[in-house]
Amino acid sequence: MKGLCLGVLAIGLAYGLAFLPGQAAALSPWLMVAGIVALLLSLIVLGVRRPGRALPRAVLIGMVFLLLVVGGGFAAALVLPGETAGSPLWLGLPRRVALLVYGIGLLPALVLPLCYALSFDSAVLNRADLDKLRSELAELASRRDDRTT
């Protein structure tokens, strides 16, 4: 939850600084990138974490990958020099755009779903957990029925 709060705070600051004139507003995109990354990572942790279990390795790899690709991609787009008529092309696109399109737009599409699938049993659901949950739910329902009757 701390990461989520920090993400919200960073995006709030990014929007807040945009109202100020001059150099302060230049920080806004950086705060927005930090906020977006913090929000995405915290939401994943929030969704995957289960009581008494550590985050599976494939999920951690996915999160590090996301941090590098999204954080690094946007940071590079903010830092690298702008495009000119003679700018070199990477796979048909100028360097900064190539980082965004191939980096943020395509790479996660290949990597994250595999992390999800590979960690499904440990991070999401497996047959044993599902059977246990179903039996606990059935027990609760029968207790509820007993109380009703």
């Binding site: 939850m1 989520l4 709060c5 919200v8 995006i11 709030g12 929007y15 945009a18 109202f19 507003a25 806004s28 995109p29 927005m32 906020g35 977006i36 929000l39 995405l40 939401l43 994943i44 929030l46 969704g47 289960r50 009581p51 999920v59 999204v70 787009a77 702008g82 495009e83 000119t84 008529a85 003679g86 700018s87 092309l89 048909g92 696109l93 100028p94 900064r96 755009v97 980082l99 965004l100 399109v101 943020i104 737009g105 996660p108 599409a109 994250l112 779903p113 999800y116 699938a117 499904f120 999401v124 659901l125 497996n126 957990d129 599902l130 949950l133 606990e136 739910l137 609760l140 329902a141």
Partner: protein, 498 residues
Amino acid sequence: MILQSAPIPLLRQPAILSVAVAYALITAGIGAWGWWRTRNAVDFFVAGRRLGPVTLALAAMAASLSGFTFIGGPGLLYSVGLGALLIFLPASITNCLSAWVLAKRLRLLAEARGVVTIPEAIGVRYRSRAAQALAAVAILVAIVGYLATNLLALGLVIDALFGTGRSLGIWIGTAAVLAYTAGGGILAGVYTDVFQGCVMALASVLVFLAALKTGGGLAQISTTILAKQPGFLGPWGALTPLAALSFFFVFGVGVLGQPHVLHKFFMVKDPLRLRWYPLLMTFAMVLTLLLMFGVGLTIKAQVLRGDLPALARPDDATPLFLLRYAPSLLAGILFAGVAAAIMSTVNSFLNIGAAALVRDLPRALARPLSAELSSGRLATLAIGAAAALVAQASGSLVALLGVFGWGLFASTLVPALAIGLCWKGGTRTGALASIGVGLLGTLAGETLASLGAFRLPSGVTVSGASLLLALATYLIVSRVSRRGDPDLDPDVRLVMES
């Protein structure tokens, strides 16, 4: 819009007519089958909980991508440059995000409590009829705008194909979608979505390849644009970095509040088969989004080369490409793809709108309806007719309503639903406050901004600010209202911890 720029109805071109008729017949056939299979409210609202991962992925993709992907998207890219891509780039992440955060929990909640709607899930999570009712109202408000803009676009497509005129086109399009949605509910909807999703992906890939060929390849297109307008190919295009990143924030995080997509998780037959959903969904989405990228860039390059005059309306990009550069069979497939994108979104909205009217609101008022299936059919007809009437009022009203959709869903549902189903510290008061702030913030903000009552600095959008405000409200109010908040129901706790 530009589909009207065709000098004669495209119906007179045999290849286009053939594709349009084949598309309509197949859709009608699937719709009739769905109607025949629909026997009760569970069939009508959650397709009998029979979906496998491929059906789920294609139906969710078709529902989440509207006509904007094929018409508005390339136009936006043409006008503001590659900054527009930040609306769609999150798609590489969001399907995994929604699967990790919500897919399993929503599916298991459906199993534990028979939940069939998103407001119902919120109501069960917080043991609050008020939260369920408020979420249903937010969904209904957003749906009217979304439906009206999509039905208007469908009317324009039908007009371009058959020369019916816009007004009649809207009614014909509405009647066509209602014919299978009112009868077969979401059961008919998801299977037509599967067909329509395939048409969309096929059309997108073919048009993308045709666009690259027309422009001489991606490198040639880039070289042409860089020589004349290098800023267009910058990562933010004509937008400021903050504005482009705001797109990424709203569309990246906001996906966790889109009920027409999340609703599909209730329909999964076996939760263990969710394993491959993100891979299938992401693959289908990436294919379908290629068109926006290819057509937007190619048309820009052709204009800069002098092969085309500058577009008076950016939305003309796709139709102009088809009329000028694509063989008529490809044009026919793409027009079918546009119709498919619109119809698949419309049928999903009609169904969740009907569910809000006949299930969520009556239950929230402790007056559940006994005949939800027949009431759902009537509600679908009523919502469709109301949205078609709004769509007839073309112009600023429809445009304004269309702007609300995504942002309103995001700001009202992301905190209470996505965070709330994962975080036991979220409270009923926090949920009510965040839904209220999201609803009022988006409605008031967008309305006042459109009237010129205030002007936000570049990069700060009403949808982004409303989402942020709703998130902050949920976190803060939940912290301060924890004492006195009712305990979670034991079965809901089990689902949240699972």
